[in-house]
């Protein structure tokens, strides 16, 4: 079907003549600016990379659910995109046929860039393909936009291939999987030296050039009977594994890039920190009581913070444009969740621990919906469970303050009369944006917070 159309000059439909555009061969004017008007005529729509969060600037295509030539109907999922926070199904808003895939699986594109072309009918498929071909080289954008993302492109850097491929006439032989990996990690095969049998380039070579630690080697032998001599390849693979990995460079995943970006951004915000010791004996007692109902310590702390924020609205504000206070209408506590390979802060917590557990799970498996991770106004970060007694957190962009909570430890205190006693003390440290929150505000907030914690019955109301 579409191959038939492809064989004829795809430029035809660009000419403005309405009658049988496909029949006249006119290679003369392939891609004129006129194209923008003909886009309406030929009705080719772009499927573009959506912004799945306010902080997302580019996304990676996880997989194309539909392939070229498939018929799409409005609302159908077309592609799965990995944003900085989660994997999302992207739907199409129009009916039509997926004429061309501009950005392939595994590749990234900036938000707003076209990732695929939708043709209204089969006749336009060839036009779409031509369009895709012309914009092809620019779209996949290996180097430009993303700062830290996709570090691998320049293969030189680490390991391997210090010697240039040398002999010109020597043919470069690459195994199928090595080719796929090279494409995925944007490694130029021509710069590699093969270490496989007969000098072929193996997947391990590509992975080394891309700075990726090879995963466990393919099943391979290891039979019970020692009669079998394991293959040489197996032996060599085993050898690379026996060593302790030396210096390697591992590129950021999308999420890690986002975290890095956010942290860098925060450097432009003037922040300061205030610490406060809080007695937690009463809180600990309450925790023991409510633990069986599934309430966690973090939930308690979050509620206390929320109650304190309700009384000190300025701490719940942020400076979005550099020149005004933005007071948030509601208090949304975000809690930092540690995920394998990154950190997602925004997590809506409305004091329902069950919901919180569910959200943590979702966050861990990268399945949060954007509204679930975008709307925090104040962040709580708790490293107490690791034994950390004190730390200060970096302010997430768009927020006014973040509270870092340490573990509560038994501390010797002296009271007014000079008598010693041991109380559980937890060190709380708040980092805030000084453009909107001043020292006094923060100190007052912390005082209130500490009072709430020390009289925690109000927490269960």
């Amino acid at each position: 079907m579409s191959s038939l159309l492809q064989s004829r000059a795809p430029t035809l439909s660009f000419s403005p003549s309405p009658a049988n555009p496909l029949r006249r061969p006119s290679a003369a004017f392939p891609f004129r600016p006129r194209r923008t008007t003909t886009k309406i005529q030929s009705k080719i729509r772009e499927i573009f990379m959506p912004a799945l969060s306010s902080t997302m600037t580019e996304g990676k295509i996880v997989s194309w659910i539909k392939s070229e030539g498939d018929v799409l109907s409005k609302g159908e999922s077309v592609v799965v995109v990995e944003s900085d926070k989660a994997d999302m199904d992207v739907e199409t808003f129009y009916d039509g046929i997926l004429a061309a895939i501009v950005v392939a699986e595994g590749e990234s594109a900036p938000v707003g860039a076209p990732i695929g072309l939708l043709a209204e009918s089969e006749a336009e498929i060839s036009v779409a393909k031509a369009k895709a071909a012309s914009s092809g080289p620019s779209a996949p954008s290996p180097p430009p936009p993303p700062p830290a993302a996709a570090a691998p492109p320049p293969p030189p850097t680490p390991v391997a291939a210090a010697p240039v491929p040398s002999d010109g006439p020597k043919k470069i032989v690459t195994t199928p999987f090595a080719k796929k990996l090279a494409k995925q990690h944007k490694v130029d095969i021509n710069t590699l030296v093969g270490t496989g049998p007969f000098g072929r380039i193996t997947p391990a070579d590509v992975e080394a050039a891309a700075g990726i630690k090879p995963k466990n080697p393919v099943p391979v032998v290891a039979p019970v009977s020692a009669a079998e001599a394991p293959k040489a390849a197996a032996a060599s693979k085993a050898a690379t594994f026996a060593e302790i990995p030396g210096a390697t460079t591992v590129p950021f995943t999308t999420m890690q890039s986002a975290v890095s970006k956010n942290m860098l951004e925060s450097l432009s915000v003037p922040t300061f920190r205030v610490g406060y010791p809080v007695s937690t004996d009463a809180l600990d007692a309450l925790y023991v009581k409510v633990k069986k109902k599934g309430v966690t310590m973090t939930a308690l702390l979050a509620k206390a913070a929320a109650m304190a924020l309700a009384q000190h609205r300025v701490v719940n504000s942020s400076c979005k444009d550099g020149k005004s206070f933005t007071y948030n209408g509601s208090v949304n506590i975000a809690v930092a969740v540690a995920i394998n390979g990154g950190l997602i802060t925004p997590l809506d917590l409305y004091l329902l621990s069950e919901k919180w557990k569910e959200l943590v799970e979702k966050a861990r498996s990268k399945q949060l919906q954007p509204h679930e991770y975008n709307s925090g106004t104040f962040t709580l970060s708790n490293l107490g469970m690791f034994g950390v007694d004190r730390f200060d957190a970096i302010l997430p962009p768009g927020q006014g303050a973040i509270m870092a909570v340490g573990a509560s430890k038994p501390t010797v205190v002296a009271d007014a009369d000079g008598f010693f006693s041991v109380k559980s003390k937890m060190l709380v440290n708040v980092t805030a944006d000084h453009r909107v929150i001043y020292g006094a505000d923060l100190a007052a907030f912390l005082q209130t917070f500490s009072k709430i914690i020390e009289n925690p019955d109000s927490l269960t109301m």
Partner: protein, 550 residues
């Protein structure tokens, strides 16, 4: 009581004693005659005299399960050359019909299917399927499972396949011996009409006469010229199934179902694969929609790449420290395109009929590219275009449908005819399957074939499709990837073709192939109940979604 009088008449001998019987017994004998279905007897008059002559020892001896002697001077009623699946199927059915049968085998009983085909390949595919599942951490994790590094022992896998082949071969042999088929060892050759000789190489020949002869000599892997097979680094399916080695990188020439199945086995065991296909599309024999989806699931995510539209003109085995080299030329322009250097090459370019040295010239039969020409009844056609009486050819040797079950179905059809009943096998009702993971199966026409037929004969076709993603059982297994497709005539409900890609496709297709064989229409299939939750509901949905115009 009557039975006793009947049998005594037989023992006593024909003719004479029948006249002693009183009329009532005669009438009874008339009844008995009808129930025994003597073909000639049914036409005879109810005269005492004629009755007896119709009592053939041959028919009676069938019930006594003993190969009696024939009326004429033939050694056997039926001689089958080749004890593969086709020959075996024919032999069993022949004995059931009371024919004195012999089967000649020059190599191993079971032929290709049992020893070098279906049986060992399915054993290997079973291993590869499991291996693939155990390695798919992502998949297992979704189910909540965790498996630490799965591994395999090559010899163990090879033994499983070999032992299975041996077992099935023994089963086949015993099944024939048990019912009294004479198994004659040696290479069979036609000497003339109804005359066959057989004998081991170097030993003397035995000549036998047969009323009917079936050729079921099967096929061998076809190796195009320019390809040097050494059995170690350049191999055919025969060698591959022994799994003497698992190469790191194997080039598979041919992307039909054999090549596809082997790619499944090799990639599961850790090899990388490169397909070399002469046509422009991979998997050319399948319905295009199915092969597109299959490519997306079976090829793209695996360690497989491919070259299409190229011929491998020269393949040199590995020697002197050099790898296997494959020279590729463009299929159309014949210009050199590329040279591959791989660890092994598997030639899967189809199968050639094994009809050399059969003595066909003695009955004036000429082969066409090695295949023996037959009509729709499997009767052999000679060089003049005339039917050779009492001479049939079934299975791969005639090239009509090169599948094991097609061969045995053809064999049964021939035996029916030899027993006096006309029978024509409907090849469109014979299903085919490809045992990759997930499986592919089909019966009937592909969409392009159906469209062509529709245009020629002037009717409309409709397509119905369902996805495995909607099926509860498939989702429970986390194997929602799959498609079932129905091509049918909306005017009369005739089923033209069904194609399935997904878990257990090879088993699910039979509902459709049965329907086609029995002439069931889509509107009738809608009312058949399917157990829940099973994968068969995919087909249930499929038939229910077919829109039939009343």
């Amino acid at each position: 009581m009557h039975s006793i009088s009947f049998s005594t008449a037989i023992i006593a001998g024909p003719n004479h004693h029948m006249s002693d019987f009183s009329p009532p017994s005669l009438q009874f004998c008339g009844l008995r005659r009808a129930t025994l279905r003597f073909s000639r007897a049914s036409r005879s008059e109810t005269r005492r005299g004629s009755l007896s002559s119709k009592l053939h020892f041959k028919k009676l001896s069938a019930s006594l399960s003993h190969n009696g002697s024939t009326a004429k001077a033939f050694d056997y009623d039926l001689v089958i050359i080749g004890a593969g699946v086709g020959g075996h199927g024919a032999a069993l059915h022949a004995v059931e019909k009371g024919l004195k049968t012999a089967i000649i085998e020059g190599d191993v009983i079971g032929g290709t299917c049992v020893n070098r085909g279906c049986v060992p390949s399915k054993a290997l595919l079973a291993v590869s399927g499991r291996m693939r599942e155990l390695q798919n951490e992502h998949h297992l994790k979704a189910l909540g499972l965790q498996v630490s590094a799965a591994g395999y022992d090559r010899q163990g896998v090879a033994d499983h396949a070999n032992n299975l082949a041996l077992k099935i071969r023994n089963n086949l042999t015993n099944s024939m011996k048990a019912i009294g088929v004479d198994i004659l060892t040696g290479v069979g050759t036609i000497l003339g009409p109804q005359k066959v000789k057989y004998g081991k190489v170097g030993a003397s020949d035995n000549v036998i006469t047969a009323k009917n002869i079936i050729i079921a000599t099967g096929s061998v892997p076809f190796v195009p010229k320019g390809i040097e097979v050494d059995g170690k680094t350049v191999i055919t399916s025969d060698h591959a199934l022994k799994l003497e080695v698992v190469p790191d990188w194997v080039a598979i020439v041919g992307s039909g179902y054999i090549g596809l199945e082997f790619s499944d086995v090799y990639t599961a065991l850790g090899s990388e694969v490169t397909f070399i296909e002469a046509l422009d599309q991979l998997m050319p024999g399948f319905d295009p929609e199915i092969s597109k989806l299959a490519q997306r699931v079976l090829i793209n995510p695996r360690k497989i790449d491919y070259h299409t539209g190229v011929f491998a003109t020269k393949i040199t085995p590995a020697k002197n420290g050099k790898p296997v080299t494959i020279e590729l030329i463009d299929a159309k322009t014949k210009e050199p395109k590329d040279t591959l250097e791989v660890d092994a090459a598997l030639i899967a370019t189809g199968r050639a009929p094994f009809t050399e040295g059969l003595g066909l010239e003695n009955i004036n039969v000429a082969t066409e590219r090695g295949f023996i020409p037959v009509d729709e009844h499997m009767r052999v056609i000679n060089a003049e275009g005339n039917l050779v009486p009492h001479f049939y050819c079934i299975g791969d040797a005639n090239g009509k449908m090169m599948l094991a079950h097609a061969a045995s179905a053809q064999g049964i059809s021939v035996v029916e005819q030899v027993s006096g009943k006309d029978h024509v096998l409907n090849h469109l009702s014979i299903p085919a399957a490809c045992f990759t993971h997930p499986e592919i199966s089909m019966v009937g026409l592909t969409e392009p074939q159906a469209k062509e037929k529709a245009e020629k004969q002037g009717f409309e076709i409709s397509i119905a499709k369902t996805s495995f993603r909607a099926n509860t059982k498939a989702l429970a297994e986390n194997e929602g990837e799959g498609l079932a497709k129905l091509i049918y005539r909306p005017d009369n409900g005739e089923i033209l073709g069904v194609h399935i890609f997904g878990m257990h496709a090879a088993d699910l297709i039979h509902e459709a192939s049965n329907a086609i064989a029995l002439g069931t229409r889509v509107q009738d299939m809608k009312y058949a109940v399917h157990a829940h939750p099973t994968l068969s509901e995919v087909l249930d949905e499929l038939f229910k979604s077919a829109k039939h115009k009343t």
